[in-house]
Each structure stands twice: as C-alpha cells, then as structure tokens.
Symmetry: C2
Subunit: 278 residues, 2 copies
Amino acid sequence: MEILDGKKIKDEILDELRNEVNNMQEKPTLVVVQVGNNEASNVYIKQKAKMARYVGYQFHHIKLDDTITEEELLYEIDKLNKDKSVHGILVQMPLPSQINTYKVQNAVLPEKDVDGLSDINTGKLFHGKDALYSCTPFGVMELLKRYKINVVGKNVVVVGRSNLVGKPMATMLINEGATVTICHSKTNDLPKYTFNADILIVAVGKPKLITADMVKDGAVVIDVGINRLENRLCGDVDYENVLPKCSYITPVPGGVGQMTVAMLGKNVLKAYKIQKEK
Amino acid sequence: MEILDGKKIKDEILDELRNEVNNMQEKPTLVVVQVGNNEASNVYIKQKAKMARYVGYQFHHIKLDDTITEEELLYEIDKLNKDKSVHGILVQMPLPSQINTYKVQNAVLPEKDVDGLSDINTGKLFHGKDALYSCTPFGVMELLKRYKINVVGKNVVVVGRSNLVGKPMATMLINEGATVTICHSKTNDLPKYTFNADILIVAVGKPKLITADMVKDGAVVIDVGINRLENRLCGDVDYENVLPKCSYITPVPGGVGQMTVAMLGKNVLKAYKIQKEK
C-alpha cells in the first residue's frame, strides 16, 4: 500500500514551473476575482497567491462587495479580458445568489479561463482537444500519471456527477482509454459498482461515504472530497479502514487538493502561451 | 418483448413539427453543405431533404467539389452564418482529407449548428444546459421517453466512445440520472459489463458484436450501429438471437437511424426559435 503524496507531486510541479518562469522575461499574470468574504474562499485564495508567488507569477486579488450586481461583475471581467497584461482569470466560487454563476464562467475569455469551466473549454475536453482543463480532475490525471498508474482498459468508477469534478473526470478517463462508470445520488446499490473498481474516484462531499467493505482488495482509491468533521478535514473515504485494502490511496488533506493548486499553476502558464501564440 | 419503432415515433414527431410549421408565416430554412459525392452521404441527404419537405421547411443543398480548400469551405460557411434567411446549417460528413473536420464543425454559428457538434453546444450539454444537441443520442433519449422507459438509477451501459454518439449519449444519460458505464475497444471483458446492463446502447460499427449471451434477460437494447453485411443493413447487435431476451429492442433499419432524422427536424425549429429570440 502506497500513499499518493499530493503535496510532494505539487512541489515537483511548482518547481518545474518556477524553473521555466525564471527564464521568462515577462511573467504570466493571474487575477483572482472574489465577490464577498466567504471564509473558505479566503483560505483557497491564500493558497493560490502562495503558489503564484512561489512560481514567479504576478498575482492580483480583486475583492468585490457581495452586493455587486451581475452586470457590474461582468463589466469587471470584460476589463480583465481586454487587459493584455492579464493572462489568467479565476472567479472564486461560490458567488452570491443574485449572480448567475454559469453566465459568469462563460464570460471569461476561453484562453484566460484557467479554471477550465467555460462551455468552450469543456467542449474541447469533450472532443479530446488540447485546452485549459478543470483543475481538480486534471490534477487527478496528473497524480495517476506521475505514480505510473495506467488507466487503459481499467474499470474506473467515478462517484459524483458534478460539472466541476465528476463529469470532466469521467471524460478525461474515457479519452485516456479507461472503462468508466459514473455513479451518483440516484445510483441503486452503489457498493455493487465500487466493489468492482480497479480505480475508485470519489467526489461527493459526504464524510466516510466509502467504507472498507465497498472497496476491492488492491484498488487505487482517489478521494476528492474535502469535508469538515469535528473540526478536522476529512474526505469521502473512511481512510483509516480503507487504507489497508488499497494498493494506492490519497490522503485528505495532502492529496487531490494539493494537485488542484498545482494544476492551476500549470494552467496559468498554458494560458500565457496560448495568448502569445495567437 | 416490444420493438422500439423508430419509424413510427419519427412520423409522430414530424407530424408535430409540421403542425407547428404550418402555423408559421416564415418557414425555417435548413442548408446542407456537401463536399464531394460520397454515395452514403447522397442517401442521407435525400432523407434529410424528404424530412424537410414533409415538415414544411425550406431546404437547400449546396454541393461543393471535393477539391475545395478548407479556406473556401470556411468562406461558404461564413456566408451562411451571416445570411439571416438561413436558420440551420449542416455540413455533411465525411469531409475530404485536406479539410479539418473539427475546425469546420466549430465554424458553424452555435445557434445554427443543428448537428450539435460544436464545442459550445457540446459544452452546454455537458453543463446540462439547453442547447442544440447531437441528433443521434438525442434521438435515443427521445425514443426512450416516448416509450416511457425510465433511466433514473438504471444501470446503463454505452458501448462506444465517439464524439458523435458515445460521449454525448453518456452525458445525456448522466444528466437524466442514469448510472452510466462507457465501454469501448480498450475495455477488458466487455460481456461482464454488458451482461449487467438494464439498458444497453451500442454504437461501435461492428456487425453482431453483441450476442445473446452478453445480454441480461429483460434488458432494453438500443442498436445505433448501421453496417452493410452481404448487401443488407444490420446493426451492432445479433438481432435475431438477442430479440427473445429483451424487454425492448430497436431494429436496424427502422430504429435509431429514423430518430436521427427526426431530431434534426426538431433542431431546425429550435435553431429558428433561438435566432428569433436573440
């Protein structure tokens, strides 16, 4: 049994990026737009700022009042779209209820959409084309790759069908040749599916949803969940009990979450290159 | 055991469309662009023309020489995009090798893309948003709906991972609440998956790939394959032998192929409405 060390791989990736950026005259610029003062968002943005500083990116944090209208937010994004000194734009989620999240995600220029959530980037992923991909599933793929875990022909079960993780995760795996099953809240008899998985990826947001009896001996278990339980972070997997059954498992924290930040770092450099090639 | 009669359902849908179009002053216009003189394409275009005439659409068939350059084809599409009297544009596949198919598919304005193959329409489907959807998988969903076959929580296995059928099919089913497994050429032990399917959808293009021993008793079997074998059309399913085991099955011809044309009919009217609402 081996622990998939997201922290270690993130550090590797950030060092690779830092080396490349170090040799660049112009430094890529990432702008994070936050609406309101959500506590979790503050933490996430700090992590992103730290990553950007380490790699050598320019980083700007635009914090807007949570009473802002959708029109005003779209105007801010439009300014950033037109600003040639800005290469990556990330609108931190969640947005307040007066704002249509989907509309905002699609307002960011595809080539600056470092979150990879716009229709065009998702459509490109769907067609197996190079694009800016959603950071969390892209991070899972990178983690598997760096640990040389082959997905071709494997029975991969993805639990969760969100636009942010489940669906792009499944698409990336299909494109790479895995046999993929997508389970979710409407699935009857979830253990029947999870128990047959060679690779089990869980992105639901329910602490200890996956118990040891639901996991095949020797499976690879990827836990995308980040839940707060009795003031501790935990994933969707009952880690202590599942651990002895796995060939590989990601911890929470220190697993997929770390990879998400690393892939944002990768996307900023990629966005920069796409814009320079235009 | 009941046969899912694509021809009957297509006729129902075309009559619904015809009634609606009959009450419209302006008639929606569909333009099919063909490059070269592929025989199968000629047959498909004839079917589309017949559908359009029946419903009451204007129909134009632009036939271009197969020596046309990509640039010239893109210029033709651009003219059609700008022409306000054109509501639906369909570029008939396959295109000759000097032309980048993906580029051409994305050159059609999303609101005129009645084939539903552009990145934007695929991205919208991915996010569960209303859009012009790919006709064949959309036709399968409509066929299931009209026969009141519920997909929620069902174990649905899709064999094939093409951009045209397999992937959008899986996405539509996930959006509707099915538990979906996507199998393909890299899948190990295909029968293990197919045999557990409540609903089995096959879109591969291999005659008799699915034999009776691969199908669960009482399964719903949807055959998207259209193959020519000994001068007869047949699907990917060994129809005669699978038939007795099914609760429902689509024939080939007379099944999904009919639905594809019907959904093109639906998409033309929808494209028209989207353009009028702008």
